[in-house]
Symmetry: C2
Subunit: 121 residues, 2 copies
DNA sequence: AAAACTTGTTTATTGCAATAAACTAAAATC
DNA sequence: GATTTTAGTTTATTGCAATAAACAAGTTTT
């Protein structure tokens, strides 16, 4: 299936709730969304159904769970931003992000170690 | 002034044209937008005026120019994404971005050198 | 000075995300 | 088996981004 991984704001916040609580009863999910977002029951169901139609979640016997990992959504999201706004360049993104910021030695080391993990063998 | 630095998609694409061509006559700008986006003249003026009202551009004697550097918008944009979706963590963002990717030694070095530039003295 | 053109504003129109009300059907309870 | 509850769908409603048509006022051209 050709999943559209672009989650709109409301969808993303909703998905976070599901990721944190899955598998979860649809009823409970509606309650959570009511608490966290002030959503009416029908709103939760509408958002849920849209995501099910796109193959991102499923609702089987009133048990809701995700079909797409949060990591995959994050991957999609980060790639989209870098492509759209930074010409696909990670260094450009980092430069923009760090503008007016300073990193401690530990923070810098952490990132550099991280980068090394993605070097091709 | 309290500039709202959030540019919507159309606004951002428009701003890019201005950054690349400023200072530019409003007429020429309308022509460019017509070519690049297929916009009618009035669309260009509407978008332009919104950005002027927000202190992001100005239009003086039919000469359009920006009041906010592209870097600042990029800074805002990158910070917003990292905060909203990655809990403010740059490493988390990078991890998501690099998933399923490999970096050449040169690419890795480039990024690590970049990181070092932001270490506090 | 009338006509034509230019610049910019005011006022629609459209599309879609976000939210919810109203309804339906099945299941559980009395 | 009638009633109430639960799960989910269908059908609005609202708000706002994106786009543009229609208009106004100044400037240039004839």
């Amino acid at each position: 299936m050709d999943k559209n991984l672009k989650l709109f704001d409301a969808e993303y916040r909703f998905a976070c709730i599901v990721w944190e609580n899955e598998p979860i009863q649809s009823r409970q999910l509606a309650n959570l969304c009511e608490q966290k977002f002030g959503w009416k029951r029908s709103t939760t169901y509408t958002v849920l159904r849209k995501l099910c139609e796109r193959g991102i979640m499923k609702n089987e016997n009133s048990i809701v769970s995700t079909l797409v990992d949060k990591k995959v959504i994050h991957q999609y999201e980060s790639n989209t931003v870098v492509e759209r706004t930074f010409n696909g360049s990670l260094p450009k993104f980092i430069t923009a992000f760090l503008k007016d910021k300073k990193l401690s030695n530990e923070e810098a080391k952490k990132i550099k170690d991280l980068i090394d993990q993605y070097k091709e063998d």
